[in-house]
């Protein structure tokens, strides 16, 4: 068995539909591990994983850390602040120094698009992208796919609309690649200034009005509005944004069918999403968080094993029957 995902996980753009399905299927049994009295299996015992976070993150970092610990890996967290990065060390030097301490994997979050791939091409350890600039956030995309599959029983043919700041969102990009590969229909809805140009060429529909998006979709994935965008002139005001694009209970009541509501977090209640919707019966926002740990366990597990050269050497040497 050769490495089923290759050495690194950089983005869903690089994966085949089969590889994405493999990760989702592998995540299923890992859900159960987190429900056990002892939430731990020895699969990655002796592996050392560094969580290298150059950008603030609570949910993603903790989720990766839980996933690593539940697989019995040893983990170290490095944050940019308080590390030698502040003294001007380059990314590659930081990683090479870590590698000199014999690590096996790096989980990296970085403000620059392409940072994860750059690193993956320069070190021997497996690299997992935990969000790089505006490029991708593949494990978020995967956990969104898993949550949609849980809720609707399939992904193929489901209509998913991403609402809000699609232009700057790595979550949106990973979602679009993953959803399209698995046969979902994808829409985007938001202010013209926050939707990428030419997105229709990917086969994505564009909605100008949130009401039209709600009419069309089975799932709304409401993206976080980064408040800095207002200062940068992308939207006139937060209040106006909520009035025009906010996902409110009133708007959803008019929908023909119940709508699954997702949000990658952290939420701005009263900006992109109404509290009544976020906490409502069709919200799967906390299921996304639960699934995040299972999906990350699956990715770590699949990347950790399967060194092709070892697999060849071991063939026929009598492993477990």
């Amino acid at each position: 068995m050769t490495a089923p995902l290759g050495k690194d996980l950089i983005g869903l753009e690089d994966l085949s539909a089969d590889q994405i399905r493999l990760i989702l299927d592998t995540a299923e049994p890992f859900k159960e591990v987190s429900e056990r009295p002892i939430k731990k299996v020895p699969a990655l015992r002796g592996k050392t994983i560094v969580n290298l976070f150059f950008e603030a993150s609570t949910r993603t970092r903790i989720s990766f850390e839980f996933a690593e610990k539940r697989l019995s890996a040893d983990t170290v967290n490095v944050a940019a602040s308080g590390s030698s990065v502040q003294k001007g060390e380059t990314l590659v030097d930081t990683a090479r120094n870590l590698e000199a301490m014999r690590i096996d994997m790096v989980v990296i979050r970085h403000p620059s698009s392409g940072a994860a791939e750059f690193l993956g091409n320069r070190i021997r350890s497996n690299v997992i992208n935990a969000g790089d600039g505006k490029h991708e956030h593949p494990t978020q995309g995967l956990l969104d796919l898993l949550t949609i599959r849980d809720k609707h029983g399939k992904i193929d043919g489901i209509k998913v609309c991403l609402v809000g700041d699609v232009l700057h969102s790595r979550v949106a990009r990973s979602n679009i690649w993953g959803l399209l590969k698995l046969g979902a229909e994808v829409g985007v809805c938001g202010p013209e200034t926050l939707l990428p140009r030419g997105i229709e060429e990917l086969g994505v529909c564009r909605f100008r009005r949130i009401e039209e998006a709600i009419e069309w979709a089975d799932v709304l994935n409401v993206l976080r509005l980064q408040l800095e965008r207002m200062e940068m002139g992308f939207i006139p005001s937060v209040r106006e944004y909520y009035r025009v694009f906010g996902v409110t209970a009133e708007r959803l009541e008019k929908a023909a069918r119940p709508m699954t509501i997702m949000h990658p977090g952290p939420m701005n209640r009263g900006v992109e999403i109404d509290s009544r919707v976020a906490d409502g019966p069709h919200s799967v926002i906390l299921d996304q968080v639960t699934n995040g740990v299972a999906v990350r366990m699956a990715v770590l597990y699949l990347l950790a094993g399967g060194r092709p050269e070892l697999a060849d050497a071991a063939k026929g040497s009598g492993g477990p029957e």
Binding site: M1, P29, E32, P42, G306, R307, L310, A311, P320, E321
Partner: protein, 163 residues
């Protein structure tokens, strides 16, 4: 085998049957049903996938299809009988023992296998054996069960011979 399990456990009082994925789960189910027919008592049963407890992830790589693990709530004080189709190196049973220990502390654990093909690499022996067979290293013993394979059969697969 169902009778032997019953004798070993001194009745159904503390008995829990745990099948090892995949064929062991079906075999445990059958043994449990036979005991239930004879005794009229419900036998708690579970399934165990030992993939994540294997000691050879590095060498054989991840096994993508991980089966379900479902363990009855309370194992403390129970007599757990592990059921598997083929006993070979003993490494699967070693992994199963480790995994069970993370779910609780049974008062006793026994091992029941349909086929013991010899070739142990660990000091592990079964308590109940359906059939003992001498099989050479390169050959494979496959147990087929109706529920999964459409027929009940034990097949000896020789290398280079298509099954």
């Amino acid at each position: 085998m169902a009778v032997e399990v019953l004798e070993l456990a001194h009745g159904t009082g503390d008995l829990v049957l745990i099948g090892i994925q995949r064929r062991g789960v079906e075999l445990a189910e059958r043994i449990a049903k036979l005991i239930e027919q004879d005794e009229g008592a419900v036998v708690p049963r579970g399934a165990l996938d030992i993939t994540l407890y294997r000691d050879d992830l590095e060498t054989v790589g991840p096994k993508p299809v991980i089966g379900e693990t479902r363990i009855p709530r309370e194992l403390a004080g129970k007599h757990v009988v592990i059921v598997d189709d083929v006993l070979y190196t003993g490494r699967t049973v070693r992994a199963a023992l480790d995994e069970l220990a993370d779910f609780g502390r049974p008062k006793r654990i026994s091992l029941c296998v349909l086929v013991d093909r010899g070739g142990r690499e660990l000091p592990i022996q079964p308590d109940i054996v359906g059939k003992q067979v001498k099989v050479n290293g390169g050959e494979r013993v496959d147990v087929l069960v109706e529920e999964l394979d459409g027929r009940d059969e034990v097949v000896l697969v020789r290398p280079g011979v298509l099954a």
